[in-house]
């Protein structure tokens, strides 16, 4: 009995702990004071207007969005053929190939960012949108690969063989049979990929400049020097966007990963 109470107590405390910073940021973004205050003193949306009217934020937001979109698109283009090869073909070095494409999931992004900066400086690919894009593509590709691979099952192979048997060529088969089956994996992987790119700091930080900055790096720079409620407003916006993305994900692929299987 005591154990059960302890488990509940720890769990509620932990859930509160997880929720607290998010609530604080949303709350602090509504304060009427010039400094961060929680609980907020008075309620106003003026810090959101400050953010919207600040061209630096608008520009970084544009950079982050374009970067995330481009990296995700490139990631899909790289990951889908790779997944097909891994699931459908036997070739020497297959294990190493899939390991190579999946390893950015676990590697410290800071090290990868540093490596890309050093390598990029020797070939002239640095402090540019393209330099950011190649790095982001490397870290988002495994997300798509990981969600697409499990959908390329044996049953799926039988469908593809049936399609070939009925006279469709490999390309036609891919678009008419394979693609519709793996689309949920591509969508889920693309969402993870977009978010991973959108919130990245450790990789971007090496290649951003004052004129070319992503939202998280911009925030990182601001937070280290001055703190005013407009930063909380930007943070709160990203939190709400994250909640929205998660609800969409939950409705499309289901996130109840902790439900017991029968």
């Amino acid at each position: 009995m005591a154990v059960r109470i302890a488990i509940r107590f720890i769990s509620f405390a932990a859930l509160l702990y997880l929720l607290l910073p998010l609530v604080v940021l949303v709350g602090a973004s509504l304060t009427t004071t010039e400094f961060l205050a929680f609980p907020p003193q008075g309620l106003t949306l003026r810090w959101y207007r400050v953010v919207v009217e600040n061209p630096t934020y608008a520009h970084s937001f544009l950079v982050s969005t374009l970067l995330a979109l481009a990296a995700t698109a490139l990631g899909v283009v790289l990951a889908v053929p790779a997944a097909l090869a891994i699931a459908r073909c036997n070739f020497p070095g297959k294990a190493a190939f899939s390991q190579l494409l999946l390893s950015p999931l676990v590697l410290p992004h800071l090290v990868l960012g540093a490596a890309l900066l050093q390598f990029g400086s020797s070939i002239g690919l640095m402090r540019s949108f393209e330099a950011l894009l190649v790095g982001h593509t490397v870290i988002v590709t495994p997300f798509v690969l990981r969600t697409v691979l499990p959908l390329l099952t044996r049953e799926q192979l039988a469908l593809e063989e049936a399609s070939r048997d009925l006279g469709a060529g490999p390309v036609t088969t891919f678009f008419l049979v394979t693609l519709p089956q793996i689309r949920p994996g591509i969508v889920a992987g693309a969402i993870f990929a977009f978010i991973t790119s959108f919130i990245n700091v450790e990789l971007s930080i090496f290649n951003t400049t004052a004129a070319l900055n992503t939202i998280p790096v911009q925030l990182f720079n601001y937070v280290q020097y001055s703190v005013d409620p407009s930063i909380a407003a930007v943070s709160a916006t990203t939190i709400l966007a994250a909640v929205l993305a998660i609800v969409v994900l939950d409705l499309t692929i289901g996130l109840d990963v902790l439900a017991e299987r029968d």
């Binding site: 998010l22 540093a114 919130i199 939190i239 996130l255």
Partner: protein
């Protein structure tokens, strides 16, 4: 299926070329730089500089200590929470809300999450205010710029990982095996320690190692919550690359961090593979 050589090349050619050019080669470049001098001669001086310098030992020790404490606290909180979500919660909607609560932090930038703690842990932040109102302290505790503050932030960022891994392991435990244990005369506590806990160990170990690896390689959270007063290994790497521009010495630091993490990740995947058998 054995496809033609051209078809296979068509599928893997582009991903392979891209990852070779922008992932593998850059890492090799870093490694090469770490074992050469500015003139291009081979040397291990960069590594011995790390190895024989008291300051580096100090930084490594702080990094390591933070990693160990983060992992221990994450496990201590994460196991009961995972248990609660998998075994105690019966109402699906509530568990869904809890899982969303777990995943939201993963979908927001480290900056935002750490920034939240900067606000909370300040001299006049909510935490200090509450502690003072309750009467536990007279003067505000300094969290920012201390290892305690970094620890709170790291645990916050990594807790979802461990809850999801342990929760997954717990959800996979076959309930009839626990019933068999009860049937053979084991009390609920005895069943937990003799059956359920041993079966969840792969999740605990791989989750723990994952958290440890992520906490020693974390940069943003320590950078924000340390206020420049505490230094960890990733901060040294960043300094070398962003302000000192010593790619040789920085490379050695980066490789040290990389090897440190990779060894742990390999151990984690080995453990989970052994457990899956």
């Amino acid at each position: 299926m054995t496809p033609s050589r051209t078809a296979l090349l068509g599928l893997i050619g582009l991903p392979l070329a891209f990852f070779a050019a922008f992932f593998l080669i850059p890492l090799i470049v870093v490694f090469v730089a770490s074992v050469t001098t500015t003139e291009g001669a081979g040397t291990l001086a960069n590594y011995s500089r790390i190895l024989f310098d008291a300051y580096h030992w100090e930084v490594t020790l702080v990094t390591f200590r933070l990693g160990v404490l983060t992992t221990a606290i994450c496990l201590a909180i994460g196991y009961p929470l995972a248990w609660y979500l998998v075994r105690v919660v019966r109402w699906r909607a509530w568990r869904r809300i809890c899982v969303i609560l777990l995943v939201v932090p993963l979908f927001t930038s480290n900056i935002v999450r750490s920034f939240g703690w900067m606000v909370l842990l300040g001299r006049t932040g909510l935490v200090n205010d509450t502690l003072r109102d309750v009467g536990l302290i007279d003067r505000p505790i300094r969290f920012l710029g201390t290892e305690t503050g970094i620890l709170i932030g790291l645990v916050y960022i990594l807790l979802p990982f461990i809850v999801l891994t342990i929760g997954n392991a717990l959800a996979k435990v076959d309930r009839t095996v626990e019933q068999a244990s009860a049937d053979l005369g084991a009390s609920p506590a005895s069943t937990f320690w003799n059956v359920t806990f041993p079966l969840s160990i792969p999740g605990v170990v791989s989750g723990g190692i994952m958290v440890f690896a992520l906490s020693v390689s974390a940069y943003v959270t320590p950078a924000l919550l340390s206020g420049g007063r505490v230094t960890v290994l990733p901060m040294l790497v960043f300094q070398q690359y962003s302000s000192v521009f010593d790619f040789h010495y920085g490379g050695a630091l980066a490789i040290t961090l990389l090897v440190f993490t990779l060894v742990l990740i390999a151990a984690a995947s080995l453990v989970s593979r052994l457990g899956a058998r």
